[in-house]
Subunit: 429 residues, 4 copies
């Protein structure tokens, strides 16, 4: 694959390479800071096929820079370890047959120490490359560096959701980070923000970075709609549970009902009923359920059933994006260090709150290509497009998303039964 | 469930009940005629969880009339056999826990003879009810009779696709119906029919029957598009196979590629490679592949990969419906008695041909609710809505669809990996 | 495979071929008589991988005579249908790859009528062969005819156990054969028959027929032991259930306990708890449990746990055979036409009763080769030897075994979790 | 459970408690020494349900002493951590529901450091208990200490077989311990050692320790037999492979043949075919196959098929024990630090060599109770007896067995398909 395959001319960014070097350094440091509370044993475990061991995240994002930047940009570049190309490829078939995903938890070597060494070696070469190479060598690869940084931010989030799942399997309920208990404030009932619809423009525009799946910007027709002014809460969801929500097939999609029966779901993931009421397993250990926190760790099926029970529905991603169009990107992100969604802090009748951060919001839209969608050329074309099937779009980022990572046009996507992400509900009508 | 729950006032049809009686008689007779080539042993087998035994189809459609019409319309109606309500309920949880779908092939009783007796008994009561009852008793149930007739037509098609699958598992390759071999004519290369897009109206309108999932009629925005003038053929698909289509992950959706690897797919269902070239298993036995026939029995994944390989894509269901808007409903349906798609007979540059009949055409659209969609009240609300997830829409009907069953707005839907329906490809760009 | 491979010289039987012809006719007729209560639909179903459709039993035993007798004995013999050799081979790899066992229920053709035609054709050729051929052609194959007759008797039993399982899956609980209800007599408590042990001789001896797994006759050492004078009853087993037998891991082998938990066993197969107490599904339909009938349809695990709970154990097959040495072969066999085990009719303190017929008795002995065991040469060597692993021996025959089929040295064998045979318990200490 | 339940009076050992203290210290130290080559990451992984993480072995053997000795012997003993009782119980249902075995690899906490702390704490209390407590308190528990020490030795072996499996899953093939390559000497063809049979005595006798499954000593009858003078070698096994051993169903038990087909076996576990011939993965990394080493890591099925191909058979455990009766216990054990079986060093015509150490020798005997077998009372009764079903006996110990652990009467047992133990073949006839 030639370098030119990777990028389109118009993508070459205007900012100097040094700025990339400095952002690279920042992003990479955050990843490692997120690992500080973990011991080597924690970083080995793959608790289900969907999750990956911390070790693997740390190495894979490094492999990305090595494979797509260093080995393209530096003549005669020798990989840190030849066999890593096989071990830490996620799903890029063009690069070669990847190591089977469900077996990532079978590897104890390279050890954490060796992986940090790998990171240091690649970081040093990246800094040299970005700061010292000829511009005409560096410039065409800057868009790839950009993708690499966003890619690492995605894995920062996954690293946290995955270790939460790992810890949840341990009856000792380990704590990732202590956090003081806070009162759960009373909050006002849901109100509705109205939008009059019409022709809308959806998708990314402009020279800032966006993933290929956010393009091209295109027209859609929207009928008038209402959007809930805030996220649905634990308290509201508990009413659904207590109204036999998990026992009434008429509230569920057929495939959702099968899931409920086969998996024996009776509450969201990480909800644990104890003698003294409901608790949630969090990255700060087991905590009693806070009624006003946004409900979290629910599947698309549960979001959909809850909406039906509420005599409402989930918004389409077009409705969501259209409503978000003029909102400032603010909310509770990973920088908050709560690693958990928080109650709404500042309420106002029908203004849209909590659109960003806290929890990813399930939409009613399946993840599909925008009209005229073109994946990137070459291996990076496998980044997004090939997953456009049987998944649903989530919007807005979560409490473990880096703030600089999110956009109004950002499309996250997961299968209908996934629950280990910080995923929640905003209703529409 | 009260009768009134089932229908909305405006649905009460204008045609006299006698016309219903006569249509009822016609539809029911066709079902039984389709069983004539079968022996009792054939009618017991469930060859995979997706298919149902012929016995079951015959009884289930009868149960539908008994449950939703006779037991509502006739005071003190005694069911033919009380336990049939459990055995022949498909998926209506509101009626009671249905007999587990994958176990339908474990039942040998009631025998075929007893099921035909059941049919005769219900048919007689239906005729009496429709011809002799007071209008004010009959009228509110006519919309349900209407659904019941369309329901039985759907099962006519399934009965044929399912017995084809059953026969295909038998190394003796039984023949459902003899058919003479025909020459495979040369046909012209694909050409493209263009459509300028804009605001379009999608969905059913008017007083004729349509399923709830075709409503409400609503606006969509369509960018300009091109639609292939005919279906893709075996010959074209063979070129995809010979170009290593089944061995190149870059042509496939990720989930499709997994399916290819896990199932070992190397050709469409029912394609069999023998020493003297490719054959197809058909309802007329094993026949050598006719190059100009529409390619058939492919999954959404295969349709999508073929489209990508063709540097084209699948149409959305909006594009398809918009293009079909003014076309006459004509094509090769079950009345043709070929039980197999046929080569295009009458070609014309860029006019759209083969839009109806022959094979169901996969679209790029997931099966979801139209804006403002309302399922029917009561048990019949389970007919369509609860399947709106992880399935894709197919349009146009097939060679085993009754002609009177299809509409321009008709939405069929199957999961992405389904191959046992008569499903094929029309390309778009 | 040469004819000579099949048999050893000393096996050539002394009785005239005509006697074989007449026994052949009798055995074959009984098989067909056992099918009389069935309709074609019943004969297609394979209710689990362990069972086979009636159709298949009827054809397979016929294939046996065709493959191992007619095609060896008649020069230029043309098989009735070439493809039957593949379809109706059970597990003889030497004959060719057999049709996959779990798929036997996917075949509707040949139909029952065609299979009966197949049987008639083979029967006629067998009669001709046995009655009209030269003795030196017939004689060497008589031992194979002998095996074929015993083989068909085995399948007579399986045909009944399998159709019982098929019917049990149908909520209509079809009846194979009506049988009047009888009072359940009071019976005396268990007593013990003692045996002093020492050197014993085990295995078949003499010129009568026996399967290869019953040879060679050999010495074993037996410590003194006690054997229960009769079979354990439903009433006794019910006490085990009511004493939480299915909920106490300490009573079970580890693998048995796993089975109990995974399968949710709480009673023997075909026991159904209804409002008015326990019922059993039988070949005469659902009947209320008769306390004094021998407990039946239990796995080795259940027999073993019941024995432990009873502060006893299961006998070894050596103990059983040694104790049976001088007993007359009498009991309730298939000729009784009850198709169900019956209460002990004639009791006597510590005399051994019910050793033959009623239910197969699980022993504590795994099914393994006797010292010096030699399987038959050629394909028939696959009859027994290759199953000598992970199965346990059962002795004595059951209520669906033909009386002429059983011997004191007869070794039946099934895996530890099998329950669909008529299998029960005799205790030892 | 009272202390008295655990032991029988006659079991109280004659040796002073101090000697136990000193043996306890030795055994515990060896366990930890075996962990020295491992890093924390290695110790977390459970590579398949049969294996356990190193972490778990270390904690479980400690839990054994805490549960069965300290908490019985020390009044008011407070467990080191209450929740360890649940986490590190293997299969003792009497102690409480154990943590699900297949999930042992989901735990990262307690960390290795914490587990070593746990070991130190329990070791200290054990030393205090054994050296300082009143004799009448200590004495009754010494038999349990004895079991605990043998139990820990069993886990020393498992720790090594399990980490070998873990490492084998890693394409980097980590090395547990370097070992220099040695020449593979030529060795003489197999010869046979004869034994005249007759009445034999089998089982443990005397006051030395033995597991309950080795008792009671009892008589058996043995026909005359021949035993191979040494283990079968890689070279001999390779001839079986090259003679299409894995492709000929007639050589295999039926269940073995299914296993071969389903698992795609074509060689023993850890055999890897590379361009330059066969290699073995060993605890010293990938090494080219040494022809004269004993063949290893084969299942019962492979041992049985190889024996059949060799026109021989596997010995029964009675034959093996009878032949071993007067042999000195010498061979290559874990103390050799080779962690791999070695070629025979000292040959002599028909003398029995390699009976102990190197590889466990599969026998033809299923693992069942000796006549009159009594499991220990209480929870320790679950140690052996409940596994007596569907497993086969292996004899003689292996290169990772501690020498002081093995006995002539020692019965190891594994399911027929297990290959990850150091298991090999001695032929018999």
């Amino acid at each position: 694959m030639a370098v030119d395959d990777l990028i389109r001319e118009e993508d070459v960014p205007a900012v100097p390479a040094e700025e990339y070097a400095s952002r690279h350094s920042d992003v990479r440091k955050l990843t490692e800071r997120l690992c500080e509370p973990l011991c080597p044993e924690d970083c080995v475990i793959q608790s289900m096929p969907d999750t990956s061991p911390t070790r693997w995240h740390l190495a894979h994002v490094t492999w990305f820079f090595e494979t797509f930047v260093l080995s393209k940009g530096l003549q005669g570049y020798t990989p840190f370890r030849a066999d890593f190309s096989y071990l830490f490829n996620s799903y890029y078939n063009s690069i070669g047959q990847p190591f089977a995903r469900p077996n990532r938890g079978l590897l104890s070597r390279p050890t954490m120490e060796e992986i940090f060494e790998y990171r240091r070696a690649v970081d040093q070469r990246m800094q040299e490359f970005l700061r010292e190479s000829d511009l005409d060598r560096v410039a065409p690869l800057l868009p790839v560096v950009e993708i690499g940084l966003h890619h690492e931010q995605q894995h920062q989030e996954l690293l946290l959701t995955d270790i939460k799942h790992v810890f949840s399997c341990n009856p000792l309920y380990p704590t990732y980070r202590e956090r003081s208990t806070q009162a759960s404030p009373e909050i006002s009932p849901l109100s509705w923000s109205s939008n009059e619809g019409g022709i809308g423009w959806i998708g990314h525009e402009g020279s800032d970075f966006a993933f290929d799946n956010e393009s091209p910007r295109h027209k859609v027709w929207l009928d008038p709609f209402l959007l809930a002014n805030r996220l649905s809460t634990n308290e509201e969801y508990l009413r659904f549970i207590e109204d036999d929500g998990y026992a009434r097939p008429e509230l569920w999609l057929s495939a959702g009902w099968n899931q409920v029966c086969e998996q024996g779901w009776t509450s969201p993931l990480y909800w644990i009923k104890q003698d003294d009421g409901w608790s949630n397993f969090t990255l700060s250990g087991l905590r009693s359920m806070a009624p006003s926190e946004p409900v979290c760790h629910i599947s698309f099926f549960e979001a959909d059933a809850f909406a039906r029970w509420s005599k409402a529905r989930l918004p389409t991603e077009h409705e969501w994006e259209s409503a978000a169009q003029n909102l400032k990107i603010q909310g509770k992100f990973v920088e908050e260090s709560a690693f958990h969604p928080l109650p709404i802090s500042d309420e106002a009748d029908d203004r849209l709150s909590q659109m960003f951060g806290d929890v990813w919001e399930w939409t009613a839209s399946d993840y599909s290509a925008y009209p005229g969608y073109q994946p990137l050329e070459g291996a990076l074309g496998e980044y997004n497009g090939k997953f456009m099937c049987n998944q649903y779009v989530l919007r807005g980022g979560s409490c473990v998303t880096p703030k600089s990572h999110i956009r109004r046009t950002y499309r996250n996507f997961f299968p209908t039964e996934s629950r280990w992400q910080f995923s929640g509900i905003r209703l529409a009508r």
